[in-house]
Symmetry: C2
Amino acid sequence: MTTYSRRTFIEQIGWGVGGVMASPSLVAMAQEQANVFDGKKLTIALCGLGRYANVLKGGIAASQFCRLAGIVTGTPAKAAQWKKEYGLPDKNSYTYQNFDQIANNPDIDAVYITLPNGLHKEFTLRAAKAGKHVIVEKPMAFTEKDCQEMIDACQKAGVQLAVGYRLHYDPHHIELKRLGQQKVFGQVRLIEASLGYRLDGISPDDWHLKKAMAGGGPLMNLGVYCVQSSRYVLGEEPTAVTAQFGPVTMPHLFKEVEENITWQLHFPSGAICTSSCTSNCNIDRFFASADEGYFELEPALSYGPFKGRTSQAAFTFPVVNQQAAQIDDIARHILSNNPLPAHISGVEGRKDMRVLEGIYKAATSGQKVKLV
Amino acid sequence: MTTYSRRTFIEQIGWGVGGVMASPSLVAMAQEQANVFDGKKLTIALCGLGRYANVLKGGIAASQFCRLAGIVTGTPAKAAQWKKEYGLPDKNSYTYQNFDQIANNPDIDAVYITLPNGLHKEFTLRAAKAGKHVIVEKPMAFTEKDCQEMIDACQKAGVQLAVGYRLHYDPHHIELKRLGQQKVFGQVRLIEASLGYRLDGISPDDWHLKKAMAGGGPLMNLGVYCVQSSRYVLGEEPTAVTAQFGPVTMPHLFKEVEENITWQLHFPSGAICTSSCTSNCNIDRFFASADEGYFELEPALSYGPFKGRTSQAAFTFPVVNQQAAQIDDIARHILSNNPLPAHISGVEGRKDMRVLEGIYKAATSGQKVKLV
């Protein structure tokens, strides 16, 4: 089993990763790039200080071009703690009520929304209205229509809209895209991509279990990663979907949202992607079979570290801080006044949402649902 | 990563493997057992000298308690070649027409049917009528009803009926059963088990592509392995199934049978098994997620060699000749006048067939099909 060379890696990963890696040449590249922006960093306000905000703060700390400059929270104790930890002035700390005043705060360039899913749309619209760039976590919203509304609002306000697509910046996933789209092993025919975490210890009051806040169960919270991986490995949009809800094994928890779901996406090339998303067990794997070989990751869709294998060789790239790489790329585009690449923008989020809506429709109706 | 000990392996595999392994203690055990049978071997006539008969002949050669004693073929050239290779007398070589005369041949104890699927039932009935024990390849027949007819015929004739379940004798699968049924990692929640071979080079005239001979596409030819693995890992019978035919990408080949199919089995415990069987790409994997860990094989369902992994350790057992181990165990039971274990008998084949029929019914109707 061989491992791909660093040179190959650098060529693939490009500039985006910056100093996240301990490579002298990449540090030099990042330094050069820092000079391009005159040392300016994208200043971010984290909106919603839950679990993922605590992951993201590590990403911001590890980034080259971003700085945590503000917070939005409904919990005074969290506000106090974060302000102390980051030396933030009181004026850069907002509640959900006074959030709109952020419009008058020149310290903040962008708002990163890590609120429960059900609040993504509202706060995207409010951030856009306040003239701030928006990074919103996945799933972008609950419907394709809501995604379009968010895209339109940001366009109207002249701000950029990114979705939190961290995996696009992991070299293992960049490699998956290359292997699939460049047909390195020929046409991909079958993908299996599944993600799940056992939530038996979760509080019955957790927002992930509430329809109004989560929009759904594991499909809403994890499904985007499976759908995304199949879409970017194939470089195609699915045309039809069948889907099935699984049984409820923890009825005290899963009263409002599905505990697990399986689905099958059909693509124009004839490729199929089968997936499971579940809250009753741990699963984290991606496999693609193509005409002349296969490629896979396991772990595959979590925060890593990932392990890759093709029918010819193992591949394990350096561990990248996914969040740091992601926000640095967003910052590069915003700081240089360039539009965000489509594949990390609201347009991409809307495409995913169309698929997620179709999966729910197929699972609910028991019918095959056309997606185009 | 640790590997399981030989002692553990021997305890699990038991006597069945005989001298297939190069272990002095096992050779001694086999020798002892050979004495029990007074040196007698189960004499087998291979019925249908296609691809799988050529695999099986290696199994017979490697076995301790079996001997190739006859052949049944419609091709004179094959008859000549096999007779020469094995020194078989003319009287032990049959055609499909004069096959029933095998009733008068004391040289043959059992008939191993490796004919196209569509002939399994007919030749099982004829072999039983001739007073010969029957080993029939999977899929046992085309319907549950046909399987019952075959079981009844063998019972009436006082002969035993085995199905070619080679994987029950591979130590990796014995380990899967142990891990699942003994809940070593807790209750299994989700299984992914898929098997496929790309058949783009196959002749359009091959019987595997003909509905009358194959009974179906990859579900009939490969699906039993996926269904079996989920059934024996869980130790449960599925209660419902949903299924979907995939697109046809090679229409010049797949005019009569499906090119690929996906399905989801639901089990009483709440566990789900999702599977794909396909003729348009290679796939060969098994994964089970349980409450406190996972276990997987890849390759998983082919002839091996297999590689196993749990959430705690890798496991790779010695390579076993699956066919030799299988027929030796069948021989041990028949030579000692003991009934075959249910899990390799016609009853097991009938259970699988119920599931396969349900999968086709679900895929054809688009409806969830109850199996009990």
